[in-house]
């Protein structure tokens, strides 16, 4: 009964989305307030019904209702509660429902908090959101119904892929979808602006918070995914340039460019056409990622049970949504008037450079991801494009971006003073040089590229600190004045400094972990000790340990430094009988400056065990960087300017930003 209610709620939501997708757009065209007024209640109702459907499915998982086919295929009574719930989105149908729930949530937020938007713009934005909703709800209803019954119902489910039974991965999809779907807001605003033929600073101010929400969530989502890959796949790596990883990275890159270009629209009333295009592409990349993963064109751990029919449907959706909006763009974009030329040496000039580099990097990753697919499609045979390609192309593009970042952030709008900015950044330059020297001295092999990269990391952190110090007058005026200035500093300035220095932290983590990783692979017998990077790892033995829905082979290792015990490490190999597969659980000892990472391999049958032990310096900084980046986004989101009315169009408060 509950499942039928869920199914029925999806049908009702679909009906409402049709109303929401058609009537307000007609209303906005005819300037008919009654028709435009349909948008907000329809969005609220759509959210309510999708929420009911989502709760119904969650209930089926929680009580292990195996008469629902999806639950029988992907759940099991013995699964811990957390994974019963996360199992809702651990499959194709349920994850589409989550996707739609988030889409409806964004619609609700525009309806609820967007009262100060001009009526026409609000109606159009909600109308376009409704159109997207029609597409995805139809996709769910006609190709991926999560509420199908199974008769007779089995006594036990088949279980969830054990790789997905993990706390990091339980929350990876919701954040990722919050990011993907969040870009639908920027997209809807962009298409609405194209229909109206008007983009102004107020528009940019409305779009920016939504983009920030999406970008922040996507940052967290990608970081969770990479963290999971790091500790679960057991290879000590954290990013593999896997096509599916790239599929989530592409919208992030475009979203980052969009965040920066929207600033130029807001402050200088120019770069409009480009910003609109970025908004369309950001959501386009999100849809593309969905298409690639769901259609079965890419195979990886992310691939759900695929069905070509679904691929055709999503491709159709992609063509209508992205193709349609790009045609609209081609027709309307020439009408958007730019705000005139501007000097290359200025904040806006620096932001254009940022956009050029990010756009090129996006193109490179896009090409590397899709080239093998395109080549195979035209019968050119199989190739694989791996890490070497991306390292050789992506990294060189990032170097100028990172070096220019602190300079650009301190440049004044309209006309910047490059020598002046560089002069004020001399402290950061000094810090960077110091770090390069220190790195060369510590690292005996003098890996000069790595040392320079560490210098770039220090430059980013130092640059952000100098920027804050300059703005607050640190060391120039009295401390109390500095504190007052710091308190009055716009939140967005804090957000920028935090996010940019987070980038530095991440660069340091990436550089150190890829340049100075130590790896020991050997067969150990109980009592054997392996030394690495100042630690001794002693193997104590291995034995079977039962888990809730698996049996684990657990190794016991003692980690000592200079003869003193630091901690015990328990890597596991888990065998999931219901799912007939196994996972490796690396044991990781994390310190602020390094990880010791132990993986238990196979037995040699004579009491010896294959083990891999890694020392990964600064690897926690990668995720610390991602977290700080997300914090920067959130701080920026709380900026007053995004909440208080925009100068031209709205006089009242703009609580759009509070939607976060």
């Amino acid at each position: 009964m509950i499942a039928e209610i869920g199914h029925y709620a999806v049908v009702l939501a679909f009906m409402l989305s049709i109303a929401q997708g058609i009537l307000p757009l007609i209303g906005a065209h005819r300037n008919d307030t009654a028709l435009m007024g349909v948008a907000a209640p329809a969005a609220c109702g759509q959210f309510m019904f999708v929420l009911i459907a989502f709760c119904a499915l969650t209930y089926a998982y929680v009580v292990s209702d195996f008469s629902v086919a999806l639950v029988a295929q992907t759940s099991h009574t013995l699964k811990p509660m957390l994974y019963k719930v996360s199992g809702v989105w651990g499959n194709h149908e349920g994850s589409m429902l989550l996707w739609i729930l988030i889409l409806a949530l964004f619609g609700l937020m525009v309806a609820r908090f967007g009262r100060n938007l001009p009526a026409g713009l609000r109606a159009r934005v909600l109308g376009i959101q409704g159109l997207i909703g029609i597409g995805f709800l139809a996709f769910l209803l006609f190709t991926s119904n999560p509420f199908l019954r199974l008769d007779p119902a089995p006594f036990e489910g088949q279980g969830l892929n054990p790789l997905l039974q993990d706390p990091g991965l339980a929350f990876h999809p919701p954040f990722l979808y919050l990011g993907y779907v969040g870009f639908s807001m920027a997209f809807s605003f962009a298409v609405a602006a194209l229909i109206e033929g008007r983009v102004d600073p107020a528009w940019a101010r409305w779009v920016r918070p939504w983009t920030l929400v999406a970008w922040t969530a996507l940052t967290i989502g990608i970081a969770l995914g990479s963290w999971w890959a790091y500790y679960e796949l057991g290879w000590g790596g954290w990013w593999f340039w896997d096509p599916v990883e790239n599929a989530s990275f592409l919208p992030w890159l475009v979203g980052t460019a969009l965040l920066h270009s929207a600033l130029v629209v807001e402050r200088r009333d120019t770069l409009k056409s480009w910003t609109i295009l970025l908004a369309i592409i950001a959501f386009g990349m999100s849809l593309l990622g969905t298409f690639l993963v769901r259609s079965g064109l890419l195979t990886s751990v992310h691939t759900f049970a695929t069905d070509p029919e679904r691929g055709v449907f999503i491709l159709g959706l992609l063509i209508v949504v992205i193709g349609g909006s790009l045609v609209l763009y081609a027709i309307r974009a020439p009408m958007l008037k730019g705000g005139g030329l501007f000097a290359p040496v200025s904040r806006e000039g620096a932001l254009v450079l940022n956009n050029l580099l990010l756009a090129t990097a996006t193109a490179v990753v896009f090409l590397g991801t899709l080239y093998p697919l395109a080549l195979d499609a035209i019968g050119g045979g199989k190739v694989s494009v791996g890490a070497p390609f991306f390292n050789a192309t992506f990294v060189p593009l990032m170097v100028p971006l990172l070096i220019a970042c602190p300079v650009g952030a301190m440049m004044a709008w309209k006309r910047g003073d490059l020598p002046g900015v560089v002069g004020r950044l001399k402290v950061a330059v000094g810090l960077a040089l110091l770090v390069v020297l220190a790195t060369v001295m510590i690292d005996g092999n003098t890996d000069i590229v790595a040392a320079l990269a560490m210098g770039v990391a220090a430059w980013l952190v130092g640059g952000a600190a100098v920027d804050l110090a300059e703005r607050t007058g640190l060391f120039r005026i009295s401390l109390s004045d500095t504190l007052r200035r710091a308190a009055n500093l716009p939140r967005s300035a804090w957000g920028t400094a935090i996010a940019h220095s987070a980038l530095g932290i991440m660069v340091a983590g990436i550089t150190a972990s890829s340049s100075w990783q130590t790896e020991r692979i050997q067969i150990v017998r109980p009592g054997d000790t392996v030394e690495l990077a100042g630690y001794e790892v002693t193997f104590k033995g291995a034995g079977n340990v039962p888990g809730p829905n698996y049996t684990a082979l657990r190794g016991t290792f003692e980690l000592t430094a200079n003869g003193r015990r630091v901690t015990m490490l328990y890597p596991e190999k888990r065998d999931y009988p219901a799912e007939k597969s196994s996972t490796t659980e690396a044991a990781i000892h994390t310190t602020p400056i390094a990880d010791v990472y132990v993986v238990l391999g196979d037995s040699d049958g004579k009491g010896g065990w294959a083990t891999r032990i890694y020392h990964n310096p600064l690897v926690p900084w990668i995720w610390a960087g991602a977290i700080f980046m997300a914090i920067g986004g959130m701080v920026s989101l709380s900026d007053r300017r995004l909440r208080v009315g925009a100068p031209k169009r709205a006089a009242r408060k703009t609580p759009v930003a509070e939607a976060a």
Partner: protein
């Protein structure tokens, strides 16, 4: 009102959409299996190599080394294996079964310790007529080996006719390996057909 510059995005997207549609159509029902990895070596002569036998083999296991010339004169399987590779261990009974049916199987022992390899054959039996030791991994690279175990069907003229990545499952004996061996026994003129089966099963 249209300007060429703003038409670029939609043009790029159109090309992309066509590529996706073509690929989706190819992958569609009964279409090609994209998880299959083709080998560049199909229908090419087996690479040149001359590998030593496993060192210090006891008298009960008299297995000579393997070189390219050995592959000529009859259809054979070349299996790349190692004692440290768990799927190789699981696959081994299948190879034993094939050897009992009279199939010639050659082994390339990949980056293994001689004593481990000897113990492996002692415990599980020896299906191999000859085994060459590839300690450097060079020969495996020449063969284009992707993962372990990996098995090649080589015809009487020493040409590679099929590659099987991963272990051979028992059910694949009748459905895949034996028919392939029969096919490889046909004259070389038929090789293009066998090759396409290996290259992607389209």
């Amino acid at each position: 009102m249209l300007r060429p510059l703003t038409l670029i995005p939609v043009a790029v997207f159109a090309v992309l959409a066509v590529v996706f549609a073509v690929y989706l159509w190819q992958v569609g029902p009964g279409g090609k299996d994209i998880s299959k990895i083709p080998s560049a070596m199909i229908n090419k002569p087996a690479p040149q190599f001359d590998l030593k036998p496993i060192a210090n083999l006891p008298a009960r296991l008299k297995i000579p080394g393997l070189k390219t010339a050995d592959l000529k004169g009859g259809v054979s399987l070349v299996n790349v294996w190692a004692s440290w590779c768990p799927p190789c261990r699981i696959e081994h009974p299948v190879l034993m079964n094939l050897a009992q049916q009279g199939v010639t199987i050659y082994g390339i022992n990949y980056k293994d310790k001689p004593e481990d390899a000897t113990r492996f054959l002692d415990q599980l039996g020896n299906p191999f007529k000859k085994v060459g030791v590839d300690n450097t991994g060079r020969t495996a690279i020449d063969w284009g080996v992707y993962g372990y175990p990996e098995t090649f069907v080589v015809d009487a003229s020493g040409h590679i006719r099929y590659r099987h990545v991963g272990q051979i499952y028992p059910h694949q004996l009748e459905s895949l390996i034996l028919p392939l061996l029969k096919q490889a026994a046909q004259p070389v003129t038929d090789s293009s057909k066998a090759g396409s089966a290996g290259a992607g099963g389209s």
